[in-house]
Symmetry: D2
Subunit: 471 residues, 4 copies
C-alpha cells in the first residue's frame, strides 16, 4: 500500500495520497488548492489519481478537490451525510459519487470505508483504510477533524464562525457519540488526522503527525473523557477565537471553489510604483522575517512575517475584495513572493497585485526618507514605567489564564474591528505570548498613527523574569 502524508505548515493541514502499487491507482483525501504536490507525488509513486475525496466541508482553507479532479480526470467522492443543509452544491454538476456511512472507495487492493463521524461538522466522514493485499482488517483511520493527536475537533465553529445559535453544545454531544465508535476500534490502528499543532480547528493539537487508537485512549483528554457531561464542558471551554475568514471558507467550499488552473503569481513592481500605490491607500504587507521588518520597513506597511502563522493572520487582516501588495527580501526570482501568493491562494486570497524586494527600501532610503521601526521594550524596563499603556493582543482564553496586572485584552484577530477601543494619544506597548502577534499588531496600529513599541519576549518573558501576574 502506498501512503503519503502531505503536510502544509502554514495551514497545519495534512492531506493523504493512498494507493495501490500493483493497480497503479490512488485516492487523495483532503487536497489543498495547490494540487501540483499531488501530481508530483503520484508521479513519484507511479500511480494515477483516480479518486478524490474529503472528510468534510472545511472551514480553514479552500478545498482543492475540484482543482485536483480537473487536473487528473479523477472522480470526486463526497459526503452525503449531515442532512440537507450540508450537501455539496456542486456534487451533481461534477458527477461526484455521494458517500454514506459504510460505503467504500476502492483503489486496486486498497479500500477506504467511510465512517460517519459527525460533531466537528454534521457531514464529517472518517475513512478506515485496509490494505487488501496483505490484510483483511484496517491498518488505520483517516480521521480528518474528528480526532487529532491529543485533541478532538472543536464542535463550536459553526456557532462562532457561522453564527448558528446553539449548535456548539448540540455538536459536542454528537461528537461524544462519534467518539464512542472510535473507542471501539482496535488499539493498534493508526490515526491519521487532518491537522497538527497550530490549527484553529482545535485547541491542544500535538505536533506529532499521527498516533494510534490505543495511545489516544490513554493520553487524549477527549477520547479518554470520563463522561459525556465532562466531555461537553471540556470541549466547549477555552476554544480560541476562530479566524475571521472561516465562515467565508465554509460557504465557498459548499458552493464549490472555482478551478484556478495554475496558482496565481504576483507581478513585480518598480519601487516608485509601489510607493505611489501605497501613498494612494493600497494595502501593502511586508512579509520579511520579524527581526528584519522590526528594524525598518516602509511606513504604512503591515508586517506579517512569512512563517507558519502567515496564513492565519493574513486571512484575518487582509481584504478579500481589493488587491494588495507585498514587500519581500527577494531578488529577481521573487521566491518568497511566490510562496506567499501560494499560501494566500490556499484560503482564497488570490488578489496579490504586485511585489517589490528590498530595493524598494534602498530606494526609499536613498530619497532621504525614514523607514518605520518598531522598537523593543524589555519587561524589566516596562516594569519600571508603571504608567505605560499596555495592550494584550493574545486570545481571550490565554488572557484569562494569566496576564500583566491591569492590562486589557483585544485579540489580534479583532483588532481592526475594535480599533476604536485602543487608547489614543499615548504611546502604546503591544504584548502577546512570545512577541510575534504583538509585532503584527504594532505594525497595524503604527499605520493608524499610534506610537508603538513591542514588549520583547511577550508574556513568556514577563513570567520568566518572575514579575507579578494577574489571573
Amino acid at each position: 500500500m502506498i501512503f503519503k502524508r502531505l503536510y502544509d505548515d502554514g495551514l497545519a493541514q495534512a492531506s493523504y495520497l493512498i494507493g495501490c502499487a500493483q493497480a497503479g491507482e490512488a485516492v487523495v483525501v483532503d487536497p489543498l488548492r495547490d494540487v501540483d504536490q499531488y501530481l508530483a507525488a503520484a508521479e513519484a509513486e507511479q500511480v494515477r489519481i483516480t479518486a478524490v475525496t474529503e472528510t468534510h466541508i472545511h472551514a480553514d482553507f479552500l478545498s482543492g478537490s475540484r482543482e485536483l479532479a480537473a487536473r487528473t480526470g479523477a472522480r470526486l467522492h463526497l459526503s452525503a451525510e449531515g442532512g440537507p443543509d450540508w450537501q455539496y452544491a456542486f456534487a451533481a454538476a461534477d458527477g461526484a459519487r455521494l458517500l454514506q456511512d459504510g460505503d467504500e472507495i476502492v483503489v486496486g487492493h486498497v479500500r477506504l470505508r467511510a465512517m460517519h463521524t459527525p460533531g466537528h461538522t454534521p457531514e464529517h466522514l472518517s475513512f478506515l483504510v485496509t490494505d487488501g493485499a496483505v490484510a483483511t482488517d484496517p491498518m488505520g483511520i483517516v480521521s480528518g477533524d474528528f480526532v487529532f493527536v491529543g485533541d478532538v475537533g472543536r464542535p463550536d465553529l459553526l456557532e462562532k464562525a457561522a453564527r448558528v445559535e446553539g449548535s456548539a453544545e448540540a455538536g459536542a454531544r454528537v461528537l461524544w457519540r462519534s467518539l464512542e465508535r472510535f473507542r471501539a476500534l482496535p488499539d493498534h490502528l493508526q490515526v491519521w488526522p487532518g491537522h497538527g499543532a497550530g490549527s484553529a480547528c482545535g485547541k491542544g493539537l500535538s505536533a506529532m503527525p499521527q498516533s494510534t487508537v490505543g495511545y489516544e485512549k490513554l493520553y487524549n483528554w477527549g477520547v479518554g473523557a470520563g463522561s459525556e457531561a465532562e466531555f461537553v464542558r471540556g470541549v466547549l471551554a477555552d476554544q480560541p477565537e476562530p479566524p475571521a475568514y472561516f465562515a467565508e471558507m465554509k460557504r465557498r467550499n459548499r458552493a464549490g471553489p472555482p478551478v484556478l488552473g495554475a496558482l496565481p503569481r504576483p507581478a513585480r513592481l518598480a519601487p516608485a510604483e509601489l510607493a505611489a500605490r501605497l501613498e494612494a491607500g493600497a494595502v501593502v504587507v511586508d512579509i520579511r522575517p520579524q527581526a528584519v521588518a522590526a528594524a525598518g520597513r516602509l511606513p504604512g506597511t503591515l508586517s506579517i512575517p512569512l512563517n507558519k502563522s502567515f496564513v492565519t493572520w493574513a486571512g484575518s487582516l487582509l481584504p478579500y475584495d481589493t488587491p494588495f501588495y507585498l514587500v519581500t527580501g527577494d531578488g529577481p526570482g521573487g521566491e518568497s513572493a511566490a510562496r506567499a501568493a501560494r499560501e494566500l491562494a490556499m484560503i482564497g486570497l488570490d488578489h496579490v497585485a504586485g511585489w517589490v524586494g528590498e530595493e524598494a527600501l534602498e530606494w526609499w532610503a536613498a530619497a532621504g526618507r525614514e523607514l518605520a521601526e518598531i522598537p523593543h521594550l524589555h519587561p524589566r524596563d516596562l516594569a519600571r514605567q508603571p504608567g505605560a499603556v499596555v495592550l494584550d493582543v493574545r486570545g481571550s482564553a490565554e488572557w484569562r489564564a494569566g496576564h500583566l496586572p491591569g492590562v486589557p485584552n483585544i485579540p489580534l484577530a479583532e483588532l481592526q474591528a475594535r480599533a476604536a477601543e485602543v487608547p489614543a494619544g499615548r504611546p502604546l506597548v503591544l504584548q502577546c505570548q512570545g512577541g510575534g502577534r504583538s509585532h503584527i499588531a504594532a505594525s497595524l496600529l503604527q499605520i493608524r498613527g499610534v506610537e508603538v513599541a513591542n514588549l520583547a519576549g511577550g508574556f513568556g518573558a514577563w513570567e520568566r523574569e518572575g514579575l507579578a501576574v494577574e489571573r
Copy 2:
C-alpha cells in the same frame, strides 16, 4: 550614460534601456510584454524608469509598453506621425505624450531626439541618442525596424500581412527617402536596430547586435543602393512569407494590448488527463528538442521544439482562440513549460492550459501503447528512390533559388491552410533547408494520418552530397 540592450532570442528582438546615472532615470525603447527584465535591469543600474517609448507599431510581437508603464508609473511616449490610420488608439486614455519629428525625450543628461523614418511603417520613429554629460552630438541611433545590420526594414508587410493593396511599393519609395537622411549622419554613429538574424521583419539581417553608420554605408545593400529604382526592386524581391499572426499583432498593438500583471504560467496535468484531452481533440504541442521528439512522442501531438524559432512557428500554427497544451522534458518545476508560456505570451498566445513532463510518455508506454516516431531518410537513400513523394516546406524564395528536381513547395506557414494540396495515400518525405521546419511539418501531417519521413539535413545536405538541383 547607461545603455543596456535586452535581446530576446525567440523574437530576435532588441529593446533598450537608456538612462542617466546621475539623475537616476531611464527610458525603455520597444519593451516586450515580459517587463520583469526591465525592472531587474533598472534595479541593477539603480535607475527609475520614467519614460517608455516605441519606434513603431510592431507586427511581430505584442508591445509591452503599457505593461511596463503600469508596473513603473512611467509615462508613455508614442509616435504622432504617419497620418490618421496610424495613431495609437489608447494614447489619450493612457495620458501618453505624442512625439513628432524633432521632439526629445529627456532623462537626466541624456536626450533621445525623435527622427521620423517611415517606410517599414508610416509612423516609424528612430531616436538619436546624445549623452549630454560628455558630448554635444549624438553617440548613436536607435533605428527600430528602419535600418538593421546588413539590411533594411521590409516595406511590404502592410500589403502582405494586413492586405493593404499597393502599399508595398509606395512604402519602398518612402523608405528610400528615409535612408537619405540616414546616409547624412556621421560615420562614427552607432546603429542600434530592433532586430537581429532570424526576424521576419527583413530578409538578410546579420547576427551582429549593432553596427555603425559608416560600416552600413559600406556593407548594407540597402543603405548603399545606387539608385531608388535599384533599391525598390531589391527591397521588394524575395521577402519571406510573413508569419500568419503579424496582422493580428498590428491590430492589437494599435488598439492597446491588455495589461497582464504577471505572465501566465500553465498548470501541470496528470498524464491520463492530458491523454483524455488529446483524445478529445485538443491541440497538444511537444516542445522538447527535435532529436528527442523525433525518436518518440505522443501520437497526435505537434512537435515545435523550444528553440530560437519556437515563437515563429507557434504563432503560425497554434490557435489564437482555443486553449492548447504542452509536452515537455520538465520535472516538477516546469521550467521549460514556463519558458514556452513566456515566449507565447510575447505574441499574445496566452491560452496554454496545461503541461506534462516525460512521465506522460512513460505512462503511455507502460500502458503498452506505441509512441509516434518521425523516421529520417538520408539524401542518398532518397536519390535511390526516384518515385518517392517529396514536399519542400521552405519559403517560396528559397525554393525558387534552388530545389530538388521536381519537388513542389508549400511553405510551412501555409501548410495548414493548403493541406488539401498535399499528395494523399502515399508515403511522404518532408524537406526544408536543414531539417528543422520539415520536422515540424512532418509532425503536423502525421496527425492528419499521413505516413511521413524527414529528409535528414534537408536541402543543405542534398547539396553537400553533390546531388542534382533544379532552379
Copy 3:
C-alpha cells in the same frame, strides 16, 4: 513533541528529527550526507539540533552523522554495543557519547531510550521515544533496520556483502531473540523503521511509512513467526543479491565518512568535449527517462534513468575510483545533474566530473552520426521466434520463482563481472520483471558491442500474455 520523518526515495531510507518545542532542541536519527534537509527542518520547527545518532553502521549509504554534527555543533551519540569489531573508529576523536542498552538521549521533555536489538548487525540500537510533556510511557519505537513494515532486517548481509563466513545463521538467531523483546511491547506503539519498499536491507518491505507493534504482530511474517527454526529458515531464504557497494559502505561508515561541506556539483561540458572524453574511454551515464533514452542516446553511454532505482544501479555499476559523466535532459540550470550528483554522493560516488544536456544529442545528430537505440520486442513476437537468445537479468530468487522456458539468469548487479558468460555473436533479448533492469543491462551490453533488444514489459507482460512459464 516534534516528529519529522525525512524520507529519501532513492535510498528508500527514513531519517527522523525528533524534538521538544518548549526546549527548542532536537535529535536527528540516521541522517544522510545531504544534511541541508535537517537544517531546513530544524529551522522550520524552530529547534536547534543538539544531538545526532544512528541505529547502526549502515551498509546501503554513507552516514551523514559527522556531516550534520559539523554543520550544527551537535554531539554524536553512537552505539557501544556489538563487541570490539563493531566499534566506531572515530567516536573518540569526535567526542561522541557511547550508548549502551538502556541509555537515554534527552532533548527537552523528550527521551529516546536505547534498546539493543542485534541481528541485522551486532551493534544495532532501536530507540523507544517518550514525550515526557504529556506521557510517561513511550509513543513508539525508531526501529532502524530491525523491524520494517511487513518484514525484518536481513541478517545475511554480513556474510554476503562483507564475506564473514557463517554469520548469516548466527545473526538470524540473534535477531529472533531481539524480536522476542519487540513482541513484548504494547500493541499501540508506533513503529518507525529505517527503510521502505525498494530497500535491499530486506526482501518484502511495505511501502507504508510506518506501522504499529500490534499490526506487525498480526501481519509481519517475521514478527509473527511460529518458531525460531521457522523464522531462521524464512529469513535466510530468497534474500536478494546485495548491491556490490554495500561492503564498501560498511567499511567507510565504521572508519568515519569524510565531511563534505556542501554536496558536490558537477560542471557542464561542451558537447564536443564530452564526446572526446567518451571516445577516450570515459564512463558516461545517460540519466534521462527510460522511454527517452531507449529511443536514442549517445553510443557508448550507459543508461541508468534517474528514478527510484537510480542509486541502487549506479552503486552497482559505476566506478568508485575514476571520474564519470552524465547525459541529462537539462537546460542551463542542470537540475537533474545536480539531483543525480546528490544521490550519488549519498553512497560516496563523489566523482561526477561533468554533464551535458540534450544539446549533445543535437550536436551529435547534426554531425550526421547515429544515436544508439534499444529496440523493444513484444512477448508474442518473441514467442514466435523460438531460437532467440534471451537473458534474464532479475535476481536469482525471482528467477527461481518462475522464468521463461530455458532462459538463463545473470542478475544485473553481477552482469559486469560475469560478462564472459553472455552468449556471443548472436542478437540478445534482455528481460527482467517489468523492463527497467533489462533496459539498463541492454545499454551495458550494447557498449560491449552486443546487438540487443529489450523484452517489452518483461516477465510481467509474458505472464499477462498467458505464455508458458518454467519454475
Copy 4:
C-alpha cells in the same frame, strides 16, 4: 557573424564570444572562471567553442581561459609579446598557440587579427575583427584594457600593485605610441573594450558598453590628447588606489589558475554553529542590502552588501588564506550565498566555508541578545557638532578634489592596514561619497570596538546641503 558580449556587473568586465554561424565555430576572448555562461551562449548560438584567447594577463580577476579550454576542448591562444617577464608560464604545458602582432585567429569566415597594443601591460593584444562572409575590412576592435569608452587603460598598475619601480611613466609613453596606431583606424570601427564603469583598471570609464573609433577620437580625453607630455601627465594623475588583490591576481594569471570544475558552493550552517565559529574568531560577512544590514546584524560581522561593488571590497578586505562565512537573506535555496560564492571565485576567494539566512538573526534575537546597528547621522546634524570625529574613507584623489573641513582620509582599501591611525576612544562618524563605502568601514571598525555612525548620503549629501568644503 555571431557576436555576444557577456558582461559581469561585479567586475565591470566584458568577455566576448565571436563566431561564424556557417562553420559552427567560435572563439571566446577574456573569459571569466564562471565558464558556464560561455557554454550556454555557445549552445544558444549553436556553435562550438574551438578557440580561447585573452587580451592580456589580467590583474582584476582570475582568468577563466584554462577552465574554458578544459570544458570545451578548445585551444588556447596567448600573447607571446611583452618580453620574457610577461610570458604565460603554462602555455607550453597546455599546448597553447602563441600570438604575435599580426597573427590571426580564424573561426570559419571570421578572423581576429592580433594587434600588439602595450601600455596597460607589456604583452597586451587587441583584436581587429573581420566578418569575412560579408566584408574585407574589420568591423571593430576588441580593445581589452587598452582603450575604454571615455578612457584608456591605466599604465601605473604595475608600479602600484606589483611594485615595479618607475614602470608607470614608461608604460604611459608606450601607451601613447599604441594610441597612435588606434587613431589611424577608420572612424566607423566599433570599439569593444574589456571594462565598463566601476572598474579599477581606469579612472573615468563610461557605463556605455561600446563605442566607435570616431566617437572616441572626439570625446575620449586620452585618445584625443594633444601631445605625449599632456597625455603622460593626465594618465598618471589621480588614478584610484588599486585593490589589494591585484598583485596576487597578476601572479596567478601568469602562473596559470587551477581548473575548478564546477564553481564552489558554500554549505549552510545551523545558526548556533555559525555563532560558535564567529565567537571563535572566524571572519563572517553579512551580504544583505545596506539598509537592511545597517538596521541590525550579528555583532562581529563585516557588512559588504552583495551589489556591484561586492567583489572590489571583498577582494580588499577578506582573507585569501583562511575560510570565512556569509550571512544572507536566503531561504533554503541559498541563492544569494551561491551568487556571492560565484563572485568571490572570480577573484580566487574560494574558501567560503558556510552560510546562514536570517533565521540566524531570529535565533540570536530569540536568545535575548542585541543586534548591532549602524546609526545614520544627517549632514546638518553633523554640522551642528563641530567637535565630532569624522573620517573620510574615499580614495585619496577624491579627497584631494574636495572634502569636509579638517577631516582626514584613510581609503577603505587601506583601513585594515592603517587601523592604528584611527582616532581611538571617541565616537567616530564614517563618511565617503554616497554612504556605501563608509557603511562597510563602519562595520569593520565596529568589530574592533569603535563606536561608529555613518554620515547619511556622504560627501554628496554634504555638498547638496550647501555646507562648507575644503580643497
